[in-house]
């Protein structure tokens, strides 16, 4: 028998339960904010911009793996890869598989950077405090986007088949995300227009972030790669003349710096608390935070130097294996220079030589400036091959080797500049999820 008393009790219990806790089901995460909030204020757009630098500096790209892959592809006899990781060994041997995790990691990271830069550019209207602020933010986002597309094109495009062109940010992932490959020409057009716009709107100096001269310097590198020597020369000249940067007194001072040196046009920042430096991991011994020296410098490289050239002895012996390692990477928390002033001298010299001009200085003078800084003796004359050799002496292990070979039609390890094996495969993860994607020739 259920008495009236019992009915009341049960009813009140039910009422209590129903009304008490519905709002308790609305819990917000404590360490994250919702996307809508992220786009709504100027401060947050600035935050996303800083987040984009952090993304670009991850170990999969400018935090080291990208430079390492470029140098392993172009290594010739200069270095030997002796590390245990299988994926960089595939790059060194030029038999990359489509599931190579270094290649796939770089692809995903580059596009994450591009997406975040796009999100900033899409939401610039929220930046209302001043037009200088808006220009600065726009310029920095375009710099990072142009940089990312440039290296994607250099590594993944095959002939005129380029990479997917994403020009706006994606925040709604419920739509169809497949995308085919734009032409290489379209990609380069975007790169150049981004960098030109960045050069036009960025201030002349911007602390550790990208400034007008960083954009000009990157333009110089892009034009050189395309073979547009007059434009490359002029852009490099602008940087050398006006940026206020100066070569460091000795070669060693250009590297392993906790703060940017006078020579850094743009560097990715690394501290003990943030930033990644994978160049240390693979080039340095264990005492310096590396794995013992995965990349050993061979005698073939040391022997290209003569006389008192500081660069010819800029090595250090691994305390684990006694092998010769580069001394460019011994500070575990040192910044990673992306563009040094030295590269600008080399670009100006090469472009001038090819165009038979002497804008800013003669090619010979520029080469000697570089050589004298490192204590090497001045040359009496120089030709294109001489300049290319000087690039190897100055810029080795900074991610230039394969690009110089391919843009000049050279060959490496038995592969010609246009060989399929020197181009990265489109990552398997992209092929599996993007039906409009096509694979590069020579890969399945």
């Amino acid at each position: 028998m259920i008495t009236k008393y019992n009915y009341l009790f049960f009813l009140s219990l039910a009422v209590l339960a129903f009304t008490s806790c519905d709002d308790k089901l609305n819990i917000l995460p404590a360490q994250s904010i919702a996307g809508e909030v992220a786009f709504s204020t100027e401060a947050n757009i600035q935050n996303i911009l800083i987040g984009t630098y952090s993304e670009a500096g991850e170990d999969e790209s400018y935090g080291g793996q990208l430079q390492i892959m470029a140098d392993l592809l172009g290594k010739g006899d200069y270095v030997t890869w002796v590390g245990t990781f299988l994926d960089p060994r595939q790059v060194a041997n030029k038999n990359m598989l489509t599931d190579n995790s270094f290649v796939g990691g770089y692809w995903n990271n580059a596009y994450a950077t591009i997406n975040q830069a796009n999100l900033v550019l899409d939401n610039l209207d929220v930046v209302t405090s001043s037009s200088e602020e808006r220009d600065r933010i726009e310029g920095e986002a375009r710099f990072l986007r142009g940089l990312s597309y440039f290296d994607l094109a250099r590594h993944f495009s095959s002939g005129d088949t380029g990479v997917p062109l994403r020009a706006t940010g994606i925040s709604d992932y419920s739509v169809d995300l497949s995308s085919g490959r734009a032409s290489t020409t379209e990609i380069y057009d975007l790169v150049i227009s981004d960098l030109q716009r960045a050069a036009a709107v960025l201030p002349g100096s911007n602390g550790i972030f990208a400034d007008q001269y960083a954009a000009e310097a990157l333009l110089a590198r892009v034009y050189l790669h395309q073979g547009n020597y007059p434009a490359a020369r002029d852009a490099a000249d602008v940087v050398i003349m006006n940026s206020g940067a100066a070569l460091t007194p000795t070669f060693a001072e250009a590297f392993n710096n906790d703060e940017n040196s006078s020579e850094d046009i743009f560097a990715f920042q690394v501290t003990s608390q943030d930033g990644a430096n994978d160049l240390i991991i693979h080039y340095a011994d264990e005492g310096n935070g590396g794995r013992g020296g995965d990349i050993e410098i061979n005698d073939s490289y040391a022997s290209i130097f003569e006389g008192d050239d500081e660069r010819g002895s800029f090595f250090v012996a691994s305390r684990q294996t006694d092998a010769r390692l580069t001394a460019k990477y011994t500070n575990q928390f040192g910044n990673i220079p992306l563009i040094r002033l030295a590269e600008m001298y080399l670009i100006r010299a090469e472009a001038n030589l090819r165009e038979s001009t002497s804008v800013g200085a003669t090619p010979l003078a520029d080469i000697n400036t570089i050589r004298n800084r490192s204590g090497a003796s001045s040359l009496d004359e120089v030709d294109v091959d001489g300049i290319l050799l000087e690039r190897v002496k100055e810029l080795a292990f900074e991610g230039f080797l394969i690009h110089d070979i391919r843009r000049t039609g050279g060959s490496v390890d038995g592969f010609n500049a246009d060989a399929n094996e020197l181009v990265f495969p489109i990552p398997l993860s992209e092929m599996d999820t993007n039906p409009l994607m096509s694979q590069n020739p020579g890969y399945n």
Binding site: A30, S32, Y53, T84, L97, Q269, T271, Q273, E286
Partner: protein
Amino acid sequence: MKRSLLTVFLLFAAVCIYAQQTIRGTVKDETGEPLIGATLMVVGTTVGTVTDVDGNFTLSPPANSKTLLVTYTGFSNKETPLTNATVYEIALAESSSLLDEVVVIGYGSTSKRFLTDNVAKLSADDIGRVPVSNFQSTFAGKAAGVRVTQVNGKVEAGIVVRVRGAASISAGSDPLYVLDGVPLVNDNESTNGAPVNPLLSLSPSEIESIDILKDASSAAIYGARGANGVVLITTKRGKIGKARMSLNISHGTSTPTNVVEWLNAEEYVELITEASDNAIGLGLGFPSPGFVEGRLDRYSNGTDWRNAEVDTDWTDQVFRDGSQTDVNFSVSGGDQKTIYYFGGAYNDTKGIINGNGLDRKSARTNIKHNFNAKITAGLNLGFSSTSIDRVANDNSFVTPLQAIAQAPISPARLENGDPFVNTVYPNFLLQQDFGSYVTKLRRLTGKAYAEYRFLPSLKFNTDFGYDMSYQTEEQFSGSRTPFNSTNGTAFNSNAIQENYVWANYVTFDRTFGALHNLNVVAGTEFTEATRQFNSVTGTEFPSDDFQTINSAAEITAGSGNLTAYNFMSFFARAQYVFNERYFVKASIRRDGSSRFGSNRRYGTFPAASAGWIVSQENFLNNNPTLSFLKLRVSYGQLGNSEIGNFPSLFLFQGVSYNQRPGIQPTQPGNNDLTWETSTQLDLGVEFGLFDNRISGEIDYYNKDTEGLLFSVPLPGSSGATSINRNIGLLNNQGVEIILNADIISSKGLTWNTSMNVSRNVNEIQSLPNEDSDIISGQNINRVGQQVSAFYMPEYAGVDPANGDALYFINSEGDDARTTTNSIGEANRIVAGNPFPDWTAGLTNTITYKAVSLSFTFQGEWGASIYNGGGRFQSANADWFDNQTVDQLNRWQNPGDITMVPQARLGDGNGVGNSTRWLERADFIRLRNLTLSYDLPSSVLEKVGLDKTQFYLAGVNLLTFTDFTGYDPEARADSGSLSNGQSFYSAPAAKTISFGININF
């Protein structure tokens, strides 16, 4: 005249008295405790009644009634002859029949006989005395359809329990664990990538029984959390009577179940130098002449490797003899008012892997008090503190198992005892000697409850449960540990999870007219869970003698975060039984959770079941052969809400660049994200033959899971690599067969056996984007295939002409079986799956007088394991890693037929991911064995003890398998556990222990 009147009066009186004779009495159990709600029926009539709160009854049996039948759940039926007496004191004995066992079913209990659901029950006898530190291993092989796998041989290793197959791909697949009605926190809080089993804190000695709810109808009462099954754990409680004390001490030793054979120094040198010569001979450009010799000089520390001066068996460094010591003690007893149980336990396990071990101290108190006839209240409280010495996760270079990759020509230690540093891979002994890693897990679980009985048939329960799991980790890596360049690194973390659960429910249980029984439960439950985590990392220590964060000169990282989730639920269940042979049950639960997207906050989960005990029918009653036959069917819907706390939100989180703050997107959003829904049908037949001497069950189930939570891969070019979606449809169906037999049942010798076999078939039935494949690493989810099937190129062997590794192209058409030596040209195929098709268990118990032998075999067939380490360890000397001995069969001369390609140093000949390292992992294991001897009562009386037993127990004593790796059950513990890969995973431990159990 007067005499006839008197006669008539007497006759009349007699007739009246006889016809209306009212009897009364009390029904109690054998210890004298009254049984409330026991049913009394006059046999052959419909007259009956039920006892009240004091166990009293009154009944008016009709004339000529002969027998009174008394029944009560969990007790044997008793027939009492009706005499002239008016007062009856009836005592019921607890039933030993399987069908009368009490089965706990979520907010209540019932007897197996009346169960319309599929619930597997394990008692303390089934799980007791198994020398393992975690309770989940105790029921491996004992419950049909429940698969228990220990991930690897580390003592803290995760245990994977799957009920009826994998019902999810990305959401959690663990069942819900409920301890005395309180859902337990079951989140792995380890920060190094390898899981720590959070239920390690529960000592098996505290457990009275485990009931596993397997089908929809039983688990639906747990609604959105019941889709993977529910494991109900009931802890021990006291009984009325004098205080009973029990002491159990055991000690055992452990060894690995299997070790794999590696090359010795001479074989290693032969193979590596051959690999180098071949590579040079082929003009591959690497290695340069002299390179290998230089390397071998370094790895051998300058000793004479050409003559195998140093020949280290690294397996000896990795494994050691483990041990296990377990002591537990309990006191229990009670009287009419109060029953109590106090227990304490201590367990010290030294693992079979060098540097791995744990010790656990735990205590429990369960008290229940009857204030008066209506109000009962109680408190269950358990506390445990476990300290685990840990090693690194399987993917880390300093995990001990990776030491098998070291060259045998390298000494493990120098003469002065220091670990040798110039090994091929970092020497894990450096981490052992100069580093430490301790995880402490403290747990407090409790329940305060009260019950108010309005009427014998109506009661109200309120349960307030609390579960706190507090884990701290302290890690120190000294300056001499591998890769340490910051003069030491220390890491500390704290993770605190607290769950509060408050359930209020009303139960109505009444028998009407002796034929109709109705049991109704209805209530609400609210769960609030919070988790707080913080950590700090410090570097730059003055010396290795300083190991705590205070001594770090630089604090380089710190984190602090907070998260929470809530569940709000309403549930109701009603069961109707007619004449103890027809059953109908229905239940419904409505759950709302903060985890679900704002558009799909609440879900309703209904279920129904029905049963018929055919053997009670007249045509089968008293049949000599078929003594019990029951048919049952159940159908219902459940949810799986183990999808993370905020999976539906579009989130940005804080990052830093040069110590300036920024934000980055971390998770694409999806407002429609909600729980996975599982709909299950179960058909079962339970039978008993020859007076239940043989009994068994046959079940067929069909479980559809839809809206699978999936981290769907996105094209990387979109800026994000995955998004959470509810997609697709997964089906699991299968058959479970259980057979129990009392083969011999005489005085002095008994032998009974219990066998369970289950077959599970799972198939993906639909996926998003028009059923397109979802591929992740070596696993694929494809419509028509099993979940996480292996997907990789097919290895074809070796080209006899030149020693190249070959793969089948597997393209469409006639040339499918053509081979190629370029793995990029080989198409991937579905080559196996990580979950078994068949699982079986066989338990035998043989008792002869005072000696008892019980053993359980467990077997699994149909699963495969992919050895992710194969590319390094069985790679025909591709690099300097030590190789398995089968690599000595490498191709050497044209015309050689072999499956091992030519050894070529650094060339990658045959080291792409392929079926070369995919192997079937079928096995049969002798899981538990217990041999015990009870001291005779004559001895016990002299010493003043009750039952005392000596026993010998073993775990994993025998393994029968063709699998060539370490262990057919071990899987990699870093990364997803469902992808079936092993990566230097440690084998399980084989343990033999000796113990004594004393009761007094």
